[in-house]
């Protein structure tokens, strides 16, 4: 099995504030400069912010893939909503103006894999292109699947991460009182074979994901502790080595804190812990991972994402 390294990372976190939606929005000036030379006419906003994040991650690593270079590089795009807003806007336009009056140039935005494919087209990645919709677990699952694709040798390099928007439709679908935020980001994952120059920032050391059925929901901290133990074991480490635990859950803030404390007791941990309070929708995992890369704390991190009916765990060793 290959070791899987994180060699580059970039996440665009919304810096604008939309009081009406109670939401941190990504501003045009945060992504448009990153799209120079890209024909973006008819490209929807979710594709633009996804592509901007993908390009900046590759740029930070100094990688440019030319048009005809054969490669097996993959894209794992995690997103709770993807292009749902573009689909809805296209349909509303057809209802208002009639089906014959809609702009056909907008139709390609109505497939849920559009943002990932735009990244593949413009970054010239020719391997598998996965869009992963796992609700709030989306980007963490995308990182986990990307990790396994490289670990098993299916691909040698993967851009894994994702993006979500917080338009009025998404906020209405979320239906919670949490502060919301938009984020788009990717990690560049590579095996030891492709790292010719540069120093890896971190190593992914384990991953687990599962559905939670009714019985497991009532003993959530026990189930999550079990998942963490499985994930670290797959990387040949012990859960006791975890220095930082980060939880992103659908629960209200106080319940998240309580779950985190229970997990700490269950795993007998001593390090730091944090419950993410903002609702980043599907981008919670990439926001958590971005924090690790931003920190200089060389330690073993455990990222946990939990939704009502599923959970995922990713273990990252900051180098």
């Amino acid at each position: 099995m290959n070791k899987v390294y994180i060699t580059s990372a970039n996440t665009i976190i919304g810096t604008g504030w939309d009081a009406e939606q109670n939401c941190h929005k990504i501003l045009p000036q945060q992504y448009e400069p990153l799209l120079q030379s890209v024909p973006t006419r008819n490209m929807d906003r979710i594709s633009k912010i996804a592509l901007a994040a993908a390009r900046s991650t590759l740029e930070a690593r100094g990688i440019t893939v030319s048009k005809d270079t054969p490669n097996n590089y993959g894209i794992l795009f995690g997103t709770q909503f993807s292009a749902l807003d573009s689909i809805h806007n296209f349909d509303m336009e057809a209802l208002k103006k009639g089906a014959l009056a809609v702009n056909p140039g907008l139709f390609p935005n109505t497939v849920l894999n559009a943002p990932a494919c735009q990244a593949s087209i413009h970054c010239r990645f020719a391997g598998p292109v996965y869009t992963v919709c796992s609700g709030p677990l989306s980007t963490l699952d995308a990182l986990g699947i990307g990790y396994n694709l490289i670990r098993s040798g299916v691909t040698s390099m993967v851009l894994a991460g994702g993006a979500d928007e917080a338009e009025p439709l998404h906020c209405a679908m979320q239906n919670n009182k949490k502060e919301k935020g938009e984020a788009a980001g990717f990690l560049l994952l590579e095996s030891a074979d492709t790292i010719h120059c540069g120093t890896p920032l971190a190593e992914i050391a384990g991953y687990a994901s599962c559905a939670l059925h009714q019985k497991q929901r009532t003993t959530l901290s026990f189930t999550l502790a079990d998942m963490i133990t499985t994930a670290v074991k797959s990387g040949g480490i012990s859960a006791r080595d975890i220095a930082c635990l980060s939880l992103y859950a659908w629960l209200p803030a106080n319940e998240s804190e309580r779950l985190l404390a229970d997990l700490y007791t269950e795993l007998k941990l001593n390090g730091t812990r944090e419950a993410i309070k903002t609702d980043w929708m599907g981008s919670g995992g990439i926001v958590q991972a971005n924090k690790i890369i931003g920190s200089k704390h060389k330690a073993l991190w455990c990222l946990v994402n939990a939704d009502e009916d599923k959970a995922a765990v990713l273990i990252i060793k900051r180098l």
């Binding site: 014959l100 139709f107 559009a114 494919c117 989306s138 209405a172 059925h213």
Partner: protein, 403 residues
């Protein structure tokens, strides 16, 4: 390495909502698309042909609560998954006790839910959209509905990949078994009939006004369809251990990207060529091993031409094995196409019969292939290649062999 066995199949299609009807319809060359009355009555639609699931018997294995709380794509997925498990002779307790994963794909997800609340918004305003419809619209709820209805605890993924979706889901399912993340995988694709898709394809001038005629010189475009195809994947060793019937071995998967254009295929079929070669390589075979190809064959001018070009690149001009497109009978079920066609391939393997491309009359010099025109044909089959190509340049090929 332990091979991946396909031990169960579940189908919801305009050609039938059980395996027997599906096979009988296709092997007789029966066309299942027809005029859609509400589109005929609407001046905004210049074409009116579609392939919808007419038979409602697929709903019989669903509970009333499921019918009320899930969207239609989720209902298709739950029903077809139950049928596939039943076909695999895996009872619900076993599926629940083992690590059973769910990997599904789609193009637009719960699109009929979106269409329902768009109409409400159009007439009454945004604030009048009911919360239950907004909740149903979440794409991940399709796969979660399967996990929750069957009380499963393995990984649950929705991996939309447009019309290549079925193969993408099956490919990831195979990986999940190889990575030892699950013991059983429920994999497949689902899409429901959609006004949004119909509108979009109409505006792209991709819809045929009458017939779907893949590879014919007079082909005019695709016919939109719907449906759900689900297969059960297990390690071959486990399937043998429980004396399961193995419908086929998932021997190779190739997943690539054209990296060219959102709607147009690469002119040389770049992604398709690499996907086919990758699948053959993973199956540890050669081009000579392929007995038959289930083509993507949508019936549009450029897609059919590019697919044939890709096949000629891999197999050599004049050496492409017989191929056909069941889309000539069931239209294009989008994200479900790959999985539905995989089920048809498994049935062809079992019956040693090639399903036909119907309505093929005039050869196209740009598509110089044997497309099994008109009627089904007997053939000795042991290895089948199935292609699915999607928007965004998503290309996929899978190879199945006899178990």
């Amino acid at each position: 390495m332990n091979k991946t066995a396909i031990t169960g199949m579940g189908i919801i299609s305009s050609a039938g909502t059980n395996l027997t009807d599906f096979w009988n319809t296709l092997s007789c060359g029966t066309v299942t698309y027809k005029e859609i009355p509400e589109y005929k009555a609407d001046k905004n639609f210049r074409t009116h042909i579609g392939a919808r699931v007419q038979d409602s018997t697929w709903q019989k294995n669903l509970t009333e609560m499921q019918r009320q709380s899930f969207g239609k794509a989720a209902l298709y997925a739950v029903s077809a998954s139950r049928s596939a498990l039943e076909n695999a002779k895996i009872d619900m307790d076993t599926a629940s006790r083992l690590r059973t994963a769910v990997v599904l794909s789609t193009t637009m997800g719960e699109i009929q839910t979106e269409e329902a609340f768009s109409e409400i918004r159009h007439q009454e305003g945004f604030g009048k959209i009911p919360q239950n419809l907004l909740r149903q619209y979440r794409t991940d709820h399709i796969a979660s509905a399967v996990s929750s209805a069957l009380q499963l605890s393995g990984p649950t993924y929705m991996v939309p990949a447009a019309c290549a979706g079925g193969n993408y889901a099956v490919g990831l399912g195979k990986n999940i078994l190889e990575w030892n993340l699950a013991d059983i995988v429920i994999a497949g694709g689902v899409d429901v009939f959609s006004r949004v898709a119909f509108t979009g394809f109409q505006r792209l001038l991709s819809l045929s006004p009458d017939l779907c005629k893949p590879f014919d010189r007079e082909r005019k475009g695709l016919i939109l369809g719907e449906g759900c195809g689900i297969v059960i994947l297990e390690r071959e060793q486990c399937a043998h251990a429980r004396n399961a019937k193995i419908h086929g071995i998932l021997a190779g998967v190739g997943l690539t990207a054209d990296r060219h254009h959102m709607t147009a295929p690469h002119p040389d079929g770049d992604g398709a060529v690499r996907a086919i070669r990758q699948a053959i390589q993973e199956a540890e075979g050669t081009v000579q091993d392929i007995d038959y190809i289930s083509a993507h064959g949508t019936g549009t001018i450029s897609n059919d031409k590019t697919e044939v070009k890709a096949l000629e690149t891999v197999f050599g001009g004049g050496s492409v094995p017989p191929l056909s497109s069941i889309k000539s009978m069931i239209g294009h079920p989008m994200g479900a196409a790959g999985a539905i066609e995989l089920i048809a391939c498994l049935q062809m393997l079992e019956n040693n019969l090639l399903l036909p491309t119907v309505h093929y009359e005039t050869p196209d010099p740009a598509c110089n292939i044997d497309c099994v025109p008109g009627t089904a044909r007997k053939a000795k089959l042991s290895c089948i290649l199935s292609n699915s190509l999607g928007f965004g340049g998503q290309s996929s090929s899978i190879i199945i062999t006899r178990g």
